[in-house]
Amino acid sequence: MSLIEMSVSASLFILAVFCFRSLLLNKVPKMTFIILWGVALLRLLVPVSVHSQFSIFTAVNDIGRMISEKESVFLNQSAPISNGGTVTMPSITDHITAPAIPLGPTSSLSISPYVLVWLIGFIVCALSFIIPHLRGRNHYRCSLPINNDFIQQWQKSNPLWRKVHIRQSDKILTPLTYGVFQPVILLPKYIDYTDTKQLEFILTHEYIHIKRFDTLKKWLLAAALCIHWFNPLVWVMYILANRDIELSCDETVIWTFGESMKPAYAMALVRLEEQKGGLSELVSHFSKSSIEERVISIMKTKKATIATLLFAFVIVAGTVTVFATSALDKTEAATDGDMPVAAVAPALYQGESSTALMPIDLTFTQSDVPQLIDQLHASNYKAVYMDNDMALRITHDNDIMIRKNNGTAWTKYDTDHVNAKDFAIWLLKNDPIPGYSMKEMQSRLANGAEVKHIAFENGKEMYVVLDSGGVQIELVQEEKIASVLIDGQRMMITSEVFPYRISERMLASFYDLLVSSNILTKAQAEQDYSERIQHLKDYDTIFTLTN
């Protein structure tokens, strides 16, 4: 799932929570919304999709199928390795931002402008949280201990497993809590320390924040905001979720002290506001609504009944099932029995399924091109690949070297590791009839072959299977491109979708590459080249030869 997809799918959920919140804010326990925002956060931060038959996206798929039979093929097969009700990890290569771009000098020129804009927004956003926070922390560090019998007494009767420090500062106006693991409650100097009822309200309120790790929640919300800064609904969520954390805390204070204390607590809140003084006349609309919302919500707090709890549960379960899950893949669920299915398949392509990913290829096996494969084995390289953008060689030390755009420099390329077992299953599903022996490949994968994965900027991907028997490359081409490759098993020439053409020039430059890599001599290359051309001209009915 790409970042955009995560953002969009979470948006629908946020919108649903927003509607429920507007309708039911003071009717169900506030915890309901905290849980719903938590689910939204998960959707925004964790690139995992949970499939459900009752998902709104299933309905969308069904409608789509009714409209267009053709399109439903794609909609239905959107997740090649998934299972009804299981969790599917998307490719680790595309969860951060659209296509993963390997780091390193080879790709420094090709960061997409979208990624760059996102990165700038992310950094600006993150700094606007971190810098004021650090500045604030510097002030809080200068706080003083409090000598107040009531506070010490109260602290003794309310033990927590994290040690809580209660200190005083003359640099703050309202009480606050900071620190996730070593929480500190900071009280302003200018509150009435003889008003023990107010102190008790304040301390109870802050203790509930600490007990619930609300500081951590706020940081996670901030993280989601930084990552999804381009999504206005995430801003809405940030604001509302922060308010709901306060409202839920207020609610619990009321439940602790009893409903008769509602006016006193609301009044204490207003008095704290009052003590801030009427200095700044700059009053935002948010301010009005948020404090007013708090006061009203406090005054309307009721003890949770079985009925409201049940209602809340139905809302949470319903919203989550309908809006927070992805469509259950019906065709997949039906065919699951036929093949072993892994619930988790890291780093395997998930965009489309089946042979749609595979190149259109003309393959010569070892018996067709014995000299070529033998010469390769005798050379310094295990595989050679070329297309219009780049050339690639895999050395004897399994280093993957890439040369771009007919440059001269070969640069080492970074790769991801893929679990061989997952790759074996993926291969069965996506390339059931490859141009080599599937049986042999499966046994190599089962016997400790290593699988490396390379993702390129334009959606092109490669899986490289390495073991003592040599190297084998599996190409993934979402968009069909012309390429030529030889590896330990075969020579493969691929072509665009239609017409199936093979370029004489590309083939010729591939042979040049083999010569310059000391795999073939010039004479061998010329001979082999003319054999390939001959074959294409005389025997092949599918591919046409062009210049």
């Binding site: 606007s128 949280f129 004021p132 926070h133 604030g136 510097n138 002030h139 560090r141 200068c142 706080s143 003083l144 201990p145 420090h165 200190r167 005083q168 500062s169 003359d170 640099k171 703050i172 106006l173 309202t174 606050l176 809590t177 100097k189 200018y190 924040h209 609300d214 500081t215 706020k218 940081w219 901030a222 940030y238 922060n242 308010r243 306060e246 006016p263 609301a266 009044m267 207003v270 506001e273 009052e274 801030k276 003084g277 009427g278 200095l279 700044s280 700059l282 009053v283 935002s284 948010f286 301010s287 009005k288 609504s289 948020s290 404090i291 007013e292 006061v295 009203i296 005054m299 309307k300």
Partner: protein, 119 residues
């Protein structure tokens, strides 16, 4: 001449007024035990006092001595900088979005009426 100091800075001054000239190291030891400040925090606050001209330092050993008397010091007026920044929300921008601004007296009284009405 009068000088405005925060409570944290006053604590440093108290030590100097009580004990006379003191090395920064000794001040840090005292504040660590009494107030729970780290050495860095104490040094930061000493630096603030130096900047405000409340103390001066002499080498060797960073000996600090008070330049002002108790009478010359005013409490820093709370209203000046006070936490615009943080109210549980980690950031000022966000704090303003969340509505952590000060209310006018009319609004305060309106809120009080609201409580009474809902009671």
């Amino acid at each position: 001449m009068s000088i405005k100091l925060f409570d944290s800075e006053l604590n440093i001054m108290e030590i100097l007024w009580r004990e006379g000239d003191t090395t920064a190291k000794r001040i840090a030891e005292i504040t660590k035990g009494k107030i729970g400040w780290s050495k860095t925090t104490t040094y930061t606050i000493i630096k603030k006092c130096l900047d405000k001209g409340a103390i001066e330092r002499r080498e060797p050993n960073f000996v600090c001595s008070a330049l002002v008397t108790r009478e010359q010091v005013q409490e820093h007026e709370t209203t000046e900088l006070i936490n615009k920044m943080y109210n549980g929300a980690p950031d000022r921008l966000i704090a303003s979005l969340l509505g952590q601004k000060k209310l006018t007296s009319e609004e305060i009284s309106r809120l009080k009426q609201l409580i009474e009405r809902l009671e």
